[in-house]
């Protein structure tokens, strides 16, 4: 029962992150969702994953988001019209439906046998370096590409601004 309550909380926090009227509140909603996810992971005995989720996603990323939001100026502080806010809820029924389906699947008797991915005693490092080298390489390249993208897009803008000034 507790698990289901936590899952519902997770969905609510996720919804808040999407629906929140301003970026700061959205970032906090995301952090709350991450924290709840970490609780679920602890509950499932995935301690290492939970620690990472809590420290990186709920902690570090939120700090980065909030500092970026406070560094950039808001486009304008205009109040959103109520019509626009209502528009955001148009997809809510779909989300509810999906959540209900997911919960129904959880409650119903599963028609499959659960298999543990590996015994929990197995060393994390061995798994990472021994079995998942491809993913490790892939993740490094994804990070490299993303960093590259940020540098490319922002450096260019700076240069353009400089050229415009001249």
């Amino acid at each position: 029962m507790l698990e289901i309550v936590i899952l519902i909380l997770l969905i609510l926090a996720g919804l808040w992150a999407v629906m929140a009227p301003n970026l700061l509140k959205a970032a906090i909603g995301l952090a709350v969702a991450s924290a709840i996810l970490a609780i679920i992971m602890f509950n499932l005995n995935a301690t290492l994953a939970a620690v990472f989720e809590l420290s990186v996603c709920a902690g570090l990323i939120t700090v980065v988001f909030i500092s970026v939001i406070s560094l950039t100026r808001q486009p304008s502080d205009r109040e959103m019209s109520s019509k626009k806010i209502l528009k955001r809820f148009a997809f809510l029924p779909l989300v509810m439906l999906l959540a209900a389906l997911g919960l129904a699947m959880l409650m119903s008797k599963p028609d499959f046998n659960l298999v543990m991915a590996q015994s929990p005693s197995e060393d994390m490092r061995l798994v990472l370096w021994g079995q998942r080298q491809m993913d490790l390489l892939g993740q490094v390249v994804v990070l490299l590409t993303a960093v590259f993208g940020v540098v490319v897009l922002f450096k260019e803008r700076k240069r353009q601004e400089k050229e415009d000034m001249e």
């Binding site: 046998n113 998942r132 490319v152 897009l153």
Partner: protein
């Protein structure tokens, strides 16, 4: 040695981004040289490629065909970029991202694990977003954003599918998942996992009705990027993965076959009809690309060895002739500065090479003998006919004619007819001559070689035994 195909580009990007002026200039030559190395390795040393030392990679005939297509398209895209992008820093950034995309695509075709495939698809996707937005105009950012959003939805679906499969099989390796699925039967839970996975891949492949991002992304991207995207990116991250997963993991059950053929035929018809009414050159090519992907999926859906061979052969051919057509579009765009077809006309007299290459590309796409596209379409239609899908076979033949129709319209509007005064002084796009000539030669050459037993023996038939 197949490790080199992943580690080589990574080392190249790291090395050539050291803050030394000479190194940064060498990025495009490095990418071009690496693509050539990859093509040579695939063509002449496939046995050496089959050995991997550091990483768990696998290589079969389908992988070889994909590696060759990737090498050809990346080679052309880099040369187009060199000819078209004038700013040196921008050119260097472009080359870096293309080489990273090359790495990602090599990873997608070489790995043997559902989760690894997801990671490498993401590499390709991230580098594609940045490449589309490279120009940073409104259209480019909009195209990139659409691709980003739909691609994220696809990633969520794929990842959820992988997670569900992991829960039942305890592993994400193809072979383990396939073993479990083989004994599990048609349980609702598994069907959900498969539906999610397939849905994600349909979006990535740009199949109808999930194609919304394709025309915007292809037409708003810088010309050199369109070559890469249309030629190989969607084919690798969407169609190849679909073929690999369905073939190796899920198995071609009758239900899956029916679904694939239906989606394929809808895409084929819808893409061709939409292409017929486009006025923007690159948008027309994008819809044509969607339509050709429909052919590939339709052929694969037959599930017969001939059908699979036709699909794979058409992926290769499509990557060559569609790149060729996008190179031509790039040449026209560079010289005239316009994208709307009814503002062009008579360009063949000023750009004879581009005009000729365009004729070769369009005839190959429409399946006119003896060009390469004819043979793959022939195999596809034969496969459909032999497996008893007469209606689908007729539609495939009929829409070959529609393909010819919209391409002839394009050719007439752009290259034939009366030359406008404003275009009196333009000349041939000599910067793009190398990729144009190379891709034209491959299109004609593969078509002619099919008349001899060379390719039939070494290229097509082993794939059909998949």
């Amino acid at each position: 040695m197949s490790d080199i195909l992943l580690i080589g580009p990574l080392l190249g990007v790291l090395l050539f981004n050291l803050p030394i002026q000479f190194f940064r200039k060498a990025m495009i030559p490095f990418g071009v040289a690496f693509a050539m190395f990859q093509a040579v390795a695939v063509l002449f040393f496939p046995q050496a490629l089959a050995i991997s030392v550091l990483l768990p990679l696998a290589l079969d005939d389908l992988t070889l065909v994909m590696l060759l297509s990737i090498a050809i398209v990346v080679f052309s895209a880099l040369l187009v970029g060199r000819g078209i992008i004038e700013d040196e820093i921008k050119r260097c950034n472009f080359a870096n991202l293309v080489v990273l995309a090359l790495l990602g695509m090599n990873g997608v075709v070489l790995c043997t694990d559902l989760f690894s495939i997801y990671v490498f698809i993401e590499i390709v996707a991230v580098s594609s977003f940045i490449l589309i937005a490279l120009e940073k105009g409104r259209a480019g950012l909009e195209g990139a954003f659409k691709y980003f959003v739909l691609s994220a939805a696809a990633s969520i679906a794929i990842l959820t599918g992988v997670a569900l499969l992991l829960v039942v099989s305890g592993s994400t390796r193809f072979i383990d998942v396939a073993t479990v699925l083989g004994t599990a039967g048609n349980k609702p839970f598994l069907l959900l996992a498969l539906a999610l996975f397939a849905g994600g891949l349909f979006i990535k492949s740009g199949l109808m009705p999930f194609h919304g991002w394709v025309p915007d992304a292809y037409s708003s991207a810088p010309a050199a990027v369109s070559v890469l995207l249309a030629g190989i990116v969607t084919k690798t991250t969407g169609v190849y993965v679909l073929i690999r997963i369905v073939g190796d993991v899920l198995g071609l059950t009758p239900t899956i076959r029916e679904i694939m053929m239906l989606v394929g035929v809808i895409t084929l018809v819808g893409g061709a009809l939409a292409a017929l009414v486009q006025n923007n050159f690159k948008r027309m090519l994008a819809y044509s690309s969607i339509s050709q992907v429909g052919y590939i999926v339709l052929s694969f859906g037959t599930g017969t060895p001939l059908g699979i061979a036709g699909a794979v052969f058409h992926i290769f051919n499509h990557s060559v002739f569609k790149s060729l057509l996008f190179v031509n579009a790039a040449a026209v765009e560079k010289k005239t500065g316009v994208g709307a077809m009814n503002e062009m006309g008579g360009l063949a007299s000023k750009m004879p090479l581009t005009g000729f290459a365009s004729v070769v590309g369009l005839l190959s796409t429409a399946g006119v003998p003896p060009l390469s596209g004819f043979w793959s379409k022939l195999v596809i239609i034969l496969a459909l006919w032999q497996s008893g899908h007469f209606v689908y076979a007729s539609i495939a033949v009929l829409f070959s004619l529609v393909t010819l129709a919209y391409f002839l319209l394009m050719q007439r509007k752009v290259f034939f007819g009366h030359l406008r005064h404003s275009f009196e002084n333009i000349g041939e796009a000599v910067e793009l001559a190398v990729p144009t000539v190379l891709l034209t030669a491959i299109t004609i050459g593969v078509g002619l070689l099919m008349l001899t037993p060379v390719i039939k023996g070494s290229f097509l038939l082993p794939v059909s035994g998949m």
